[in-house]
Amino acid sequence: MLAMRRAISPADCREGFLEMVPACIGLAPFGLVTGVGAAAAGADWLGALGMSAIIFSGAAQIIAAQLFAAGAPLAVIILTCFVAGLRFLMYSAAMAPYLKPLPPRWQNGLAFLLTDQAFGASIRRFHATNDARAPASRFLGGGLALWIWWQITNMAGFFAGNLIPASWSLEFAVPLCFVALVAPLLRDAPTVLAAVVAGFAVVALDGLPMKLNLIVAGLSGIAAGTLSDLSRERWTRR
């Protein structure tokens, strides 16, 4: 108990929670559409809640729902979601040094709350300080805000998604949320190449069954980015 009280400061936790409110507003349409997607894939409300509460990743949930509706085999669904989730490895590695002072129990709990948005909001703060406690507490607060809001918006989308007029084109909010994540990354040549190769591949291979184009395109983009990064380094060293 004592270790717990020392590890987390309630004031910072509350601050992190409140700080996440603007991002939550932006994620509302994304959560709604993800809930609609679960309904369209034929999930019941418990299955939809399971997706948002346990998978807790918009990209993986959208992919799973799309592939599920397309009748893809389990192995393809799981593999595609796994590759999309590999970005968490990167976030995990970036967060690890800052979470090291915390007790393992807290590390295990905070890891579950690691999402694109929570990572983006906290990593800059970790960089700025030597004491991990305050940013970790804020991360906990922000992560909890995101998790709770994600359940609310997913369920709202599942139950009331059909009340939203089609003319609002709310489903367009999903690619926009990912554009908000990807566009700021496109600052160096290998990353641009990774995106361009993946983009071309996913369109060119549209005819592949079971939405295999998604994973093939993703892996091609990763390979293209990595190779151009390696060759660029070799070139500049000469």
């Binding site: 299955g47 389990l74 590695a93 994540l181 990763i222 990064d229």
Partner: protein, 110 residues
């Protein structure tokens, strides 16, 4: 397999794999440093995987009289805003506003 069972298998497996990915370097491999080649490759996962995911959503055109898919133009506007502001809310606002405007235009001209 029963569809409900299949869905729960996906939920639990993907949930577990996602959690292990999140936990990986925080706990499981805490004592090892990431192999340099893996670190390099992982840098390109978001750009590649998320682009592959969103591009078909942007190119999927609902029946429309517009010569150019308004979603492509709206996504470009959103991309510029995202690149400059790093803000999800502003990206969303600009992209949706651009889409609504472009969808309304052909109707008012025609």
């Amino acid at each position: 397999m029963d569809a409900t069972l299949k869905l729960w298998f996906v939920i639990l497996t993907v949930g577990l794999l996602n959690y292990l990915s999140r936990l990986s370097f925080i706990a499981v491999f805490a004592r090892t440093s990431m192999p340099p080649l893996l670190a390099r490759a992982l840098k390109y996962v978001p750009a590649a995987m998320l682009t592959a995911l969103i591009l078909p959503m942007i190119l999927a055109a609902p029946a429309s009289a517009a010569p150019l898919n308004p979603r492509v133009a709206a996504a470009i506007v959103a991309g510029i805003v995202a690149f400059c502001t790093h803000s999800t809310l502003k990206t969303l606002g600009a992209g949706m506003a651009a889409l609504w405007l472009l969808q309304a235009l052909p109707a008012s001209i025609g």
